[in-house]
Symmetry: C2
Subunit: 337 residues, 2 copies
DNA sequence: TTGAAAGCGGTACCAT
DNA sequence: ATGGTACCGCTTTCAA
């Protein structure tokens, strides 16, 4: 190993060619003779030369790296296994394409400004944006558009939606599938524990649930909101039981809430899935560990990450923004009959 | 917003000074008159100019970014909330210092080579290394040293330990604290569900457990190994019960294994904490959710991340490598009396 | 205190 | 095919 890294000059000299030739060789090898190519390759092998990516990006104007921008203070997010899955799949996919991932988190308005500034600094070619909160997302998309930064959003943009690439999940159909499954397995009175009011995801799921209940069971719709935490699921289930003591099915908008609901059910002396069938949403690891293992709708986070990267690359090539809607998959375990 | 980003030239021209002066202003403002400073500041404010970080790093030789290198294929790691906590705290701390984080994952030997090459490409000033597996860790530390790359390791390096910065947790004392607590609360026959054999962490914890058992209970030590998964904890607990039917305390080396053990206990008709007290290790979110909530040793991952960043910055300033050993904290919940 | 100019390590255009 | 060379945007002597 040498102290001072080699430069393209060293290689050129060593190989007896000009640096222009070496450069060409490095970038596809067109217009360089077999002869020269071989000599250059030899030298490179011998010296384990690696091009300085920064110099290169200065010259080309491309940085070969993209930012993963987490647009809001979310302690919870990092603790959320789903989020980690997303991040991991993005990191992998990017690595596969030879690009690097720069992580940017936002904890406050100050950091937000700094991040935006950083992005304008020419560090990255594009941005993968995660911002579940609608207002934040809109603002960020706006800023990014303004600086003409290519961006792919996880979730439906809800602003400039036709000029913004995004990848999201079909919440409406997922909810339909979940609720219908409960009905098919014999549940006649189905309640829903929804996420916080506001987000479009919540709306879509509630809509799906409502449509099925109306069609299939003829029973009224029972809806309580939680905040995705276990406790909120527990409390919501209690409220549900108060309103509809004969409830025999619960569709929860997250696995965590489903687990909380099951606890509440146990407290009220109801068995799962005997008395009440339960279905969750996410399929995070907890779903397999819970007692009994939870039937749930799986979010394809790995796939989402992969798509996001692909779509960003398309944008970088000058392609047009597209939106992808991925299906949710029903994973049957033991909280349904 | 303008199309072509501004350059230092534009600012200089606009402010009626040379780019050298602007540059000096940007870097601390020494040797630039009040007069000029004000004019430059004005122009910058007006144009929201941001220096091109790549050009800067080409000129200075410093990149202002560090790599988070995950040295081994670890599907599980990303699903591990602890890992996420670590990552998050590192991202935050780095952000606070105005540096950026480049994520590097390794899935196979190929990627490993690519990563190493990337590091040699001058992208980053230093590396934060996570590689739980001993062999991998040693190899990586070696490679990093060879290319004179500053590095801070999460975990005890086990190689070049006195010339390598690291941050780790005091497994030995943690195990002592956990086992002793069990004994103090009345457990007379304590078994341990340890992690996989091999890693130094496992060894240290086993040692701590042994020392306490020998001192306090006078009973023999019962040890079974798991692989940190829930199922392995379940099975290990069963083996433990077979060997020592009167067991009234279990110290598990991870929360997940503790939860598995509790399930096994239930199957054998033992109550927790009535018949058997259980204590876990990690304090991941699961510990609060489990039934009953788990007493456990908390790993200070946020603190670990912060320290790693701090120590890396020290290295970058030319400081000497140091090792930090952090204490584990006992979190009492309801699986102990 | 300031500015001119020589890099930093590549890329890419233009002759040859 | 190849080499010369003018940048890319910024930092950093060095002289003034």
């Amino acid at each position: 190993m040498r102290d001072k890294p080699m430069t393209i000059r060293d290689i050129a000299k060593e190989a007896g060619v000009s640096r222009a030739t070496v450069s060409r060789f490095l970038n596809g090898g067109h217009w360089v003779s077999e002869e020269s190519a071989k000599r250059i390759q030899d030298v490179i092998d011998r010296t384990d030369y690696v091009a300085n990516e920064r110099a290169r990006s200065l010259a080309t104007g491309r940085s070969n790296s993209v930012a993963f921008l987490l647009g809001e203070p979310q302690e919870l997010l990092f603790a959320d296994p789903n989020f980690s899955t997303l991040l991991r799949s993005i990191a992998d996919e990017l690595g596969r394409k030879g690009m690097s991932l720069i992580m940017m988190t936002t904890d406050n308005e100050n950091e937000n400004r700094r991040n935006l500034k950083y992005l304008r600094g020419g560090h990255v070619d594009g941005v993968l944006l995660v911002a579940w909160h609608l207002g934040v997302r809109k603002g960020l998309i706006h800023s990014l558009h303004a600086m003409e930064m290519p961006v792919v959003v996880a979730e439906y943009p809800s602003v400039d939606s036709d000029s913004t690439s995004y990848v999201h999940v079909d919440d409406y159909r997922g909810a339909i599938r979940a609720t219908r499954y409960l009905a098919e397995r014999g549940a006649g009175s189905i309640g829903m524990i929804a996420g916080p009011e506001g987000p479009s995801g919540t709306l879509a799921r509630v809509r799906g649930y409502r449509d099925v209940v109306k069609d299939m069971t003829g029973e009224p719709a029972w809806i309580e909101h939680g905040d995705y935490s276990k406790d909120s699921g527990h409390d919501a289930a209690l409220r549900l039981l108060d309103r509809a003591p004969d409830l025999d099915g619960i569709f929860a908008s997250s696995d965590l809430m489903a687990v909380g609901a099951m606890q509440a059910l146990r407290e009220r002396g109801k068995s799962v899935p005997g008395d009440v069938q339960v279905i969750g949403f996410d399929d995070q690891p907890l779903a397999q560990i819970s007692e009994p293992p939870l039937t749930t709708m799986r979010q394809p986070f790995a796939e989402i990450g992969k798509r996001m990267v692909d779509q960003l690359l398309v944008l970088l090539e000058g392609g047009l923004p597209v939106g992808t809607t991925l299906p949710l998959e029903l994973i049957v375990r033991q909280t349904t009959r």
